[in-house]
Symmetry: C2
Subunit: 369 residues, 2 copies
C-alpha cells in the first residue's frame, strides 16, 4: 500500500501506480468478502430485517452499511468491477470464470433488500401524497427493536389519514412486494447453501492470498486502465440528455407514463448505464488511491452524482412496481387511481434525480474541467 502514499491525496495519481496496488485492493476486498460471509453465517437468521431497519428510507440509496449481506455484495461488486477494469493485468481464464459468478451472487443477494426498500419508498410516497403528517425520522430506526417489522410501524398509525384508494394501494403493494421479498430471501438462502456459492467462496478465499496477475502486470502502470474507465464514464455522461435534465420541470420522465408499451422507459437505460460506469470509475479510483479518496474536487462530487443515480434507479423501479400493481385484475378504481398518482409521482422523482445528477455533474466539470 506504500504506492498510494506517494500520490498526492487531492488529485489523480501523478506517478505510475504499480500492479501491487491492484493486488492489495483485490486481497483486501476478498478478505472483506470472507469476513462478511462469516458474519452473515453467524446472524444469518436475522435475514434482511435488521438490514432494513438500519436503512434510512428516502435517501435514495440501497446501500445498507450495517448488514452482512450488504457488505458481502459490496465486496463482490468491487472484486467483479476491478476484474473488469484491469482485466489485461489478470489471468484471463480465471477472470472470465469469476465475474459471472460474482454477478450472479450479488444479483441474488440484492433482491430481498431491493424489494424491501422499494416498498418503503412507495409507502412513504403514499403517505406524502396523502398529506399525512411527516413520519418522524426515527420511525424506521425504532422498528429495529420491534418484532413486527418496520413496515407495520410505518403505516399503521397513519392509515386513518389515507383515502380508501391510497390505503388499498398500499396494502396491495405491501402484499406484492412482501411476496417478492420473501421469494428473494428464499432464493438468497438457497444460493448461499449451494455448491455454486461454495465454489465462488473458495475462489475468493484463494484470491485473498494469491492474486493471479499476468506476467505483463509486473511492469504495468494501472493509471491508463483507470483512465479508460473514467473515459467510458465521461463518454456515457456526454451522451445523456443533460441540457434537458438541467431544465427543471421538463416533463420528460413521464412522457411514456401511459404508453401502451409494457416496457415504456428505454429512456432510463442510459442513466442506469452511467450509474454502473460511475461505480466502476469509483472502484478504479479506490484501487489507485486506497482509502484516500474524497479529497479532490472530482472525488467530492462523485458521491452526489452517485446518490442521484441511485435515486434515479430506485424511483424508476418503484414507478414500475406501481404500474405493475395497477395491472392486478379486479382492483377497485380508487386503488388504480392511487397507483396512477403514485406512478406519476415516482416518474417525477426520476426526473428530479436527473436534475440532481446534472447539477452535481456540472459543478464537477466547472471545478475540474
Amino acid at each position: 500500500m506504500a504506492q498510494q502514499h506517494l500520490d498526492p491525496p487531492t488529485g489523480p495519481a501523478s506517478g505510475p501506480v504499480s500492479a501491487d496496488a491492484l493486488a492489495d485492493y483485490l486481497r483486501a476486498q476478498a478478505t472483506e468478502f470472507l469476513r462478511s460471509l462469516r458474519q452473515h453465517g453467524e446472524n444469518g437468521a436475522e435475514g434482511a430485517g435488521a438490514a432494513r431497519a438500519r436503512t434510512r428510507p428516502g435517501d435514495g440509496g440501497t446501500e445498507e452499511p450495517g448488514d452482512a449481506a450488504g457488505a458481502l455484495r459490496r465486496s463482490a461488486r468491487r472484486i467483479s468491477g476491478t476484474l473488469h477494469t484491469f482485466r489485461p493485468l489478470l489471468d484471463a481464464d480465471w477472470s472470465e470464470r469469476m465475474r459471472p459468478e460474482l454477478a450472479w451472487l450479488s444479483g441474488t443477494l440484492a433482491g430481498e433488500h431491493a424489494y424491501a426498500a422499494r416498498l418503503d419508498r412507495l409507502l412513504l410516497a403514499l403517505h406524502r401524497l396523502s398529506g399525512a403528517p411527516a413520519l418522524p425520522a426515527q420511525s424506521t430506526g425504532a422498528a429495529e427493536s420491534a418484532g413486527g417489522g418496520p413496515r407495520a410501524q410505518l403505516t399503521a398509525p397513519d392509515r386513518g389519514s389515507l383515502t380508501v384508494g391510497a390505503a388499498k394501494a398500499g396494502a396491495l403493494l405491501e402484499r406484492q412486494l412482501t411476496l417478492a421479498r420473501t421469494r428473494a430471501h428464499s432464493a438468497a438462502l438457497q444460493a448461499l447453501g449451494s455448491s455454486r456459492f461454495h465454489a465462488v467462496a473458495d475462489s475468493v478465499a484463494v484470491l485473498a492470498s494469491e492474486v493471479p496477475l499476468t506476467p505483463a502486470a509486473v511492469t504495468a502502470d494501472l493509471r491508463p486502465l483507470a483512465a479508460s474507465a473514467e473515459e467510458r464514464l465521461t463518454d456515457a455522461v456526454t451522451a445523456l440528455p443533460l441540457v434537458t435534465a438541467g431544465h427543471p420541470y421538463n416533463a420528460e420522465a413521464l412522457i411514456h407514463g401511459l404508453s401502451p408499451d409494457p416496457a415504456p422507459h428505454p429512456q432510463d437505460a442510459p442513466w442506469h448505464q452511467v450509474r454502473l460506469l460511475l461505480r466502476l470509475h469509483r472502484y478504479a479510483r479506490e484501487v489507485l488511491h486506497g482509502g484516500h479518496v474524497g479529497n479532490s474536487a472530482l472525488d467530492g462530487r462523485l458521491p452526489g452524482a452517485g446518490r442521484a443515480l441511485n435515486r434515479h434507479r430506485d424511483a424508476s423501479e418503484a414507478a414500475a412496481a406501481a404500474a405493475a400493481a395497477a395491472r392486478t385484475p379486479r382492483i377497485a378504481p380508487a386503488t388504480a387511481y392511487a397507483l396512477g398518482v403514485l406512478h406519476a409521482d415516482q416518474r417525477h422523482e426520476v426526473e428530479a434525480a436527473r436534475f440532481a445528477f446534472q447539477q452535481s455533474w456540472q459543478r464537477q466539470v466547472v471545478r475540474t474541467g
Copy 2:
C-alpha cells in the same frame, strides 16, 4: 390622455396623474365593452367554437384575443378592477352596484371557454403521457375551418397510440367537460338575453359618456391608489412560499394528491389570489400609463409572472377535473389509473408554474429592487 405623455415611458409616473386619466380609461373600456357586445350580437351564433380555434392550447392562458365574448370579459374585468382600485374617487353607490354585476357577467361568460380550454389541456396531456408523436402546432388552427370541432381532430388520428385506459379517460373527460361547456354556453346565452344583463349594458353605456367621479377626484392624484394596488400585490407575493417554489422538484404541489379531503388544495388559494392582485396592478398601470406599458423593467416581467399564474390556475383546475372524473361510478380500473397519472401530471404542472413565477419574480426584484 395628455397626462400620460408627461410620464417617463420607462418607469412609474413621476408626476401627479389626475383623475382625467381614470375617466379616459373607464370611458375607453366601456366603449370597448359596447363594441364587443355589438360584435358578439353579430356573430354570436358561432359560440365559443371560433374562439377556441383561435386559442393556442398549452400556452397556459385563457385569454382569447380574437373573440367577442373574450373581449367583452376583458373590458368587464378592467372596468370592475378599476372601480375597485380607485373606488375613493368614484361615486360609491354606483360603484358598489356595478361591481358585483360585472363580476357576475364575466364569470358567466368565462365558463364555456374555460371548460373548452381545460379539455384541450387534459387531452394534450394524455397524448404527451402516452408518448404519442407531438401534435403539430397548427392542429387546433386547422379546426377553425372544419365543422367537427377541434377536439375530434386533436384525438382521433392518434387514438391508436393510446392505452385503453388513456383513451377511455380521454373519452370520459370529453363527455364530462363537453357537457359542462354546453351548460355554460346555455347559461351565457341566457345571461346575455336577461334583463339583468341589459341593466349592466345600460350602465356601461352611461359610463362610456359620463364617468361618475366624486367631487374630491378633481384635485386627486391617482398614483397613491395605484401604489396601494401594487403594495397589496407585493405583500401577497411576499407571503407566498417562494423559497420552496424556487427549489425545483420540491414535490409540494402533489402533497395532497391523494388526500381524503375533497377540496385538498388550499395551498393553491394564495397563488390564485396573487393572480387577481397582479391583474389589478396591471390595470392600475394601464390607467396611469395608457397604452404605454411594457417599457420598464417591472412591466417587462409582469407578463411572464402573469402567464405563470394563469398556467398555475389552469393546471390546478385541470388536475381537479381529472380527480373529479376519477370519482365517476363504475369506471374501469385502467381508466382510473390513467386519470391518476393525469392528475399527478397536472399537479406537477402546478409546481412547475410556481417555479416559473418565482423565476420571473426574482428577476424582477433583482432588476428593480
